[in-house]
């Protein structure tokens, strides 16, 4: 299941839990769980748009700005290596 989710992420143009869930016939909650496992195992990384915006930046007019709510998922080298191995 983990490898399938990893492949879905690698081949997708966008990350949508509902789409992955539908493609793999599993619930969105399960996709969430599997994605968390893949992050924990180091096969993918997840980051928010602007991690440096939580505190006041010197000279910034927008001291209260929050991290922009765009989540980005990347497949790590470890993940790519695993997928390549699976392809062989």
């Amino acid at each position: 299941m983990l490898k399938n989710v990893l492949r879905e992420i690698y081949e997708a143009k966008l990350f949508s839990k509902s789409l992955i869930g539908k493609n793999l016939n599993i619930s969105e909650e399960m996709v969430d769980e599997l994605v968390n496992q893949l992050i924990r195992l180091g096969y993918i990384t997840e980051e928010m748009g602007s991690p440096t915006c939580e505190g006041k930046c010197a000279g910034c007019s927008i001291s209260s700005c929050k991290s922009i709510p765009i989540k980005m998922i990347s497949v790590t080298e470890k993940g790519k290596k695993l997928l390549n191995k699976e392809n062989k």
């Binding site: 765009i70 989540k71 470890k78």
Partner: protein, 663 residues
């Protein structure tokens, strides 16, 4: 006294069940050496007392958090007679992951399948007998909140304790290769005096569990065996986790029927259009145009007049008060023309700024910004730029400083440098008052369109420069990532209004600090040398402006006033409006400033001026951030010079082409 441990995922109703089992017979403490709360209580059943331990809520029994370690250490070392695993019946697949780990530990597990009422409400059908048989574990349905099934759970649990017999469930296979490794490790561990069961240690060692590896570091044969696995060990961790899910999946498929959600969600339907290859960009443009248009309709036409009126009344009142109290002329001039004329010229745009951020906040809160970033990502990639660059550009629309800081998410130096260098072309909030003054003066009927065109131009110039940089200064490979498109949701008005207020408050604070300071300095320059006519070309301010002015002559606004305002804008962009407000007739409020600039600029020179403002040297804080982020004075200086050159070329082009075309 026999002990029963309660373990389960967070929000599975474990604590509710604990309360139902123990009533008021409970006490709270801490687990030794950690700050994790320890809850214990007692249950009396058929005259026998049982100790009940509520373990921290956890999704798994790894070593990734204190909660996990506390729970697993207690289960393995505390030797509870029975472990009640509280499973959320509405989310069985996810919850059973913990169950599989309890099975690996060899615990006497009883599953309390909790929240059965909610599962029924969601039309989830669970065949308890099949589920129990497939797992090899007793399952008792419960609704802990209503104490339903609690009696049966106690009965089953005490029965296992009284029978004094370990449950005999079949462990699942991890695949031939891993099963073989487990057996080999088990035989190597045989006879060792360990705190944990050998089966569990073998599995955890193959998973690379640091605590377990530390525990067996003196077992030379085992560590040597593990060392021989090399690269394979990395994959074993994933294989083991995967097999647990596979085991769960097979069991759930046989015994649980959930309503099939094959229908497209509303989000899916909307996204089919909103992120469509061909429609995505036009829809993004249309949405932004609508936001700008609404900003003018609501912010300017509806609320704009109020603040202008207040500033006008304030100016009049202060003027009369100062004259009546016999204040010296310089003080009257400084306060009414300098402070109220300058700072006030910025403050009158609060309604527009408020309205703009209100609508942008709504877009952000609904989840649309992710879609905007996604549709732009395609263009960025086509231009050889990293998609994350557009996220830093979106942040830059608020302020270029955090925009540049947010480029830290770009791992590749090439991508990051490009993202930093093009960020100042994004129209930050501080530039909005300048656009608004000129739009109000020259393009009042097409405000939304002009504002939209300016933002659009900023993006286009940024993309062109990005492409040029990627082909010349920073060649290299781009990395890949995908963006999450979260489900659309109704915006929370509270959150939108709070964010809007935060931004407006910062805008006002800047007007009261940086803009006030700039206005004060330039007001002093406007009256020096003493005896000179204020705001004249002979004043120091006029002389500075006169030196700079010829540079802007080809762009059509080669006046000392326009030049000095652009110069002041490097301190802070809003200062451009403040200085224009101060130097043009010592304007006392926004409307007068608009009238004053109508007499000095033409629509064409106004357009070339705002193009200059859009693209020229960023503010001092942004330049300082570039220095900090690149750790290089060279790039900070480059950031001063190159946008100025681009802006100058742009402004000259607008003016010269416009003149040739007869505008």
């Amino acid at each position: 006294m026999n002990t029963i441990a309660l373990v389960g995922n967070p929000n599975s109703g474990k604590t509710t069940l604990f309360n139902a089992l123990t009533g008021s017979n409970q006490h709270v403490g801490n687990w030794p050496g950690v700050t994790v709360e320890k809850k214990e209580g007692q249950l009396k059943y058929n005259g026998v007392l049982y100790n009940i331990v509520d373990l921290p809520g956890t999704y798994s029994l790894g070593a990734y958090s204190e909660d996990e370690v506390v729970a697993r250490d207690y289960i393995v070392k505390g030797n509870p007679d029975v472990v009640i695993n509280v499973v959320d019946a509405t989310n069985i697949e996810r919850n059973l992951y913990l169950t599989t780990q309890l099975m690996e530990m060899g615990s006497n597990v009883v599953v309390a399948l909790n929240m059965m009422d909610e599962a029924k409400g969601k039309n989830i059908e669970i065949n308890l007998e099949k589920l129990s048989n497939n797992l090899g574990i007793p399952i008792i349905p419960t609704v802990a909140a209503k104490r339903k099934g609690v009696g049966k759970l106690i009965e089953k649990t005490t029965e296992i304790i009284n029978n004094n017999k370990n449950l005999d469930y079949q462990l699942f296979s991890y695949g031939e290769e891993i099963d073989k490794e487990i057996q080999e490790l088990k035989s190597l561990l045989k006879g060792s005096d360990l705190d944990y069961p050998t089966q569990w240690i073998a599995i955890k060692a193959l998973e690379g569990d640091k605590e377990v590896l530390e525990h067996i570091k003196n077992k030379k044969e085992v560590t040597e065996k593990l060392a021989t696995l090399g690269d394979k060990a990395t994959d074993y961790e994933l294989e083991i986790v995967d097999k647990r899910y596979e085991f769960i999946g097979n069991i759930v498929n046989k015994s649980v029927k959930s309503p099939v959600d094959s229908k497209e969600t509303l989000t899916d339907k909307i996204d089919k259009i909103v992120v469509n290859k061909y429609l995505g960009i036009p829809i993004f443009g249309l949405i932004m145009y609508t936001v700008f248009q609404l900003t003018f309709v609501i912010g300017s036409d509806l609320f704009g007049g109020y603040v202008e009126g207040w500033m006008e009344s304030l100016g009049d009142c202060v003027n009369v008060f100062l004259i009546n109290t016999g204040a010296p002329n310089w003080l009257v001039s400084f306060i009414t023309e300098g402070i109220i004329g300058g700072v006030g010229a910025v403050v009158v745009f609060v309604p527009l700024i408020m309205t703009l951020y209100f609508f942008l906040g709504i877009l952000e809160d609904t989840g649309y910004m992710s879609r905007a970033a996604y549709v732009m990502d395609g263009i960025m990639r086509a231009l050889g730029l990293h998609g994350k660059t557009f996220i830093s550009m979106i942040v830059g629309f608020g302020c270029n400083v955090p925009g540049i800081m947010s480029t830290r998410t770009l791992e590749n130096k090439k991508d990051r440098m490009i993202a930093i260098l093009i960020n100042p072309f994004m129209s930050c909030g501080a530039r909005i008052p300048i656009y608004l003054v000129f739009i109000a003066a020259f393009f009042p009927n097409n405000g939304g369109l002009v504002l939209f065109a300016l933002y659009f131009l900023g993006i286009i110039v940024a993309l062109i420069m990005g492409k040029i940089f990627s082909k010349t200064l920073f060649k290299g490979e781009s990395s890949n990532f995908i963006m999450e498109l979260p489900p659309y949701r109704l915006p929370s008005m509270r959150s939108v209004l709070r964010d809007m207020w935060d931004k407006v408050w910062e805008f006002l604070k800047r007007a009261g600090t940086i803009i006030f300071a700039v206005v004060t300095i330039l007001w002093i320059l406007s009256v020096l040398p003493l005896g000179v006519e204020q705001y004249s070309q002979e004043s120091l301010l006029g002389k500075i402006g006169t030196i700079i002015a010829p540079i802007f002559a080809p762009a059509g606004f080669g006046t000392w006033q326009a030049s000095v305002s652009l110069f002041a804008g490097i301190a802070a962009k809003e200062a451009v409006v403040a200085i224009l407000g101060m130097v043009y007739a010592g304007a006392a409020e926004g409307a007068e400033l608009i009238t004053a600039i109508q007499g000095v600029f033409t629509p064409l020179t106004a357009l070339s001026f705002i193009v200059m403002v859009l693209l020229y040297t960023p503010c001092a804080a942004t330049i300082a951030t570039v220095k900090k982020e690149t750790n290089s004075y060279k790039w900070a200086i480059f950031m001063v010079v190159y946008p100025f050159v681009i802006a100058w070329i742009g402004a000259v082009l607008v003016y010269q082409v416009g003149t040739i075309l007869g505008f």
